[in-house]
Symmetry: C2
Subunit: 319 residues, 2 copies
């Protein structure tokens, strides 16, 4: 028998990403007076065969967006932390079932958004993640000192060591642009992020970056991390590009997502060698400087075997 308490509702949240003018942006539902939220809806198992079809359905209704590429990110079920059940969600307000939320990443090109939704640069939520100009000053000015305190305040020597290691991996020497989620979770635990105080019902003491509703900033962090990783071994950037683009535009898009600058000449070499693009023979209407050739994505690479960017070889012959 199914007890009432083995039953949950499923919420679907989507980080819908586009890049416009060198800024990666995410589509948010902005209510006046409350925090931004990701487009968010319930999964209705009676009407949808798969989670993804449910997602496409209400995203279509709510945002008028036709999702192209989508990818499931993670399923969060934490009680009391980050989740709608700890906030105010009408859908849950009648004391109904616990909610579990499934996060998705979707890539589109920016178009006209539906009323109530708007594009917002993702570095508003994660200002420490944009290293394109330089290491963000706030890291040394605010984050590292606060985290040092967090390390010192650990309950015992072992916890100190553990925290020190985490801080070092997240904000120490070197920068792994993929560890977006790890960094956010660390900042959360260290109480540097508004959500921490809200979830624990205490007055807000720190607020790094712009907060979001529920656990949506965590989902967005997961999305960014996933996208930054995927970039390198699957040709997903092209989902974000116009049908024709210059190589510099492509590079700027990748840089915007990765939050890093790349070496121009080598970037071109790489893209060309992989056979990811082909010239169209057309050129940009002159803006400034020498006009650039317009390229298009060679969809064929998807069929031609082996995902571009995939490395790791080292295979030997049978023993």
């Amino acid at each position: 028998m199914i007890a009432r308490d083995t039953v949950v509702s499923i919420g679907l949240s989507a980080a819908i990403v586009a890049v416009e003018g060198e800024q990666p942006a995410v589509l948010v539902v902005a209510h006046a007076g409350s925090h931004d939220a990701l487009p968010f809806g319930p999964f209705d198992p009676a009407h949808h065969r798969t989670l993804e079809s449910g997602l496409r359905k209400w995203v279509g209704e709510q945002t008028r967006f036709d999702l192209g590429y989508t990818e499931q990110l993670y399923t969060f079920g934490d009680k009391g932390r980050h989740l709608p059940s700890s906030g105010l969600d009408v859908r849950m307000a009648d004391g109904g079932a616990r909610m579990v939320s499934v996060g998705y990443l979707a890539l589109t090109r920016q178009g006209q958004e539906a009323p109530g939704t708007q594009w917002r640069g993702w570095y508003h939520y994660f200002p420490w993640e944009d290293w394109r100009d330089c290491r963000p000053a706030m890291i040394d000015a605010v984050i590292v000192p606060a985290l040092k305190k967090f390390v010192k305040d650990a309950p015992d020597a072992k916890a100190v060591e553990l925290r020190r290691a985490r801080v070092n991996v997240c904000f120490g020497e070197g920068w792994d642009e993929e560890r977006v989620l790890e960094r956010y979770e660390l900042l959360y635990e260290a109480g540097l992020v508004e959500e921490f105080w809200r979830d624990s019902g205490r007055p807000v003491k720190n607020r790094l970056g712009t907060a979001m509703q529920f656990d949506h900033r965590r989902i967005l962090a997961t999305a960014i991390a996933r996208l930054r990783g995927k970039l390198k071994y699957r040709p997903v950037v092209f989902e974000l590009m116009a049908p024709a683009f210059t190589l510099l535009e492509l590079q700027r898009t990748v840089e915007a997502l990765a939050g890093l600058r790349l070496h121009k000449q080598n970037f071109r070499r790489l893209v060309a060698e992989q056979g990811l693009v082909e010239g169209t023979g057309k050129f940009t209407a002159a803006t400034r400087g020498r006009p650039a050739e317009l390229f298009r994505f060679r969809r064929e690479v998807l069929r031609e075997r082996q995902a571009p960017g995939v490395r790791l070889g080292r295979r030997g012959k049978p023993a």
Copy 2:
């Protein structure tokens, strides 16, 4: 209000993996007369704060295993395909809520299993995935011909092209050991796998590999794919090793998981350069051949910054 039909049950399934004697094995619940299943249980939101704690709880009860490393894989919600709702599951037998299943990967070392469970080599379920000796003969003998027919039987020219591309990526020239799920899904759609016939309620026509209950083989495919990928950029193999091991044992374990042979000398070079292991000064009690030194995993690498194996450089200076 929460309508009855917006509510679902959550099932948690775990692919618990260990490697013993060069065979990667997965812990299954084997009922006489029915197919093997992964350890599987409901998520009880009333008693568990997170999905993972729920998982650990009943896995502990059901299998007596203390899970070490765990990782969420994917959440499947397909109706009518692969899922319990299309099979016979006592938990669902009273016509209750739709089930959504969350799959997990867990890594352990093989110990004594609980009654009713047993370790089973994962290549029983995926015989085409083991390329350690050579390209499995069944691929050319059975799979490729059957898939050629599948391509030809596509409804229209466009579908033919799409299918051809998929077949090529999955079983054509080159072998991407990570595409385990893609290959399984292709075999499923082509009706080469027992689950396809079972899910569609027709008599079984083909059965490649050993079938599992519900969608568990799909979850296992996801687990293998994830693990094969993760191996390369995070030191997860060590979760499967004894505290001290020889470099050859380590290599054999990696090979078992990847389903490939590696070049011995280069493998050593790589492992050593990454600083992943350190010698203990002890040597194996002589079996045959020169005794090998015993190594241990240097857990410190996890703190020393940057995940071992991570590549991709190509970062430039600010424009």
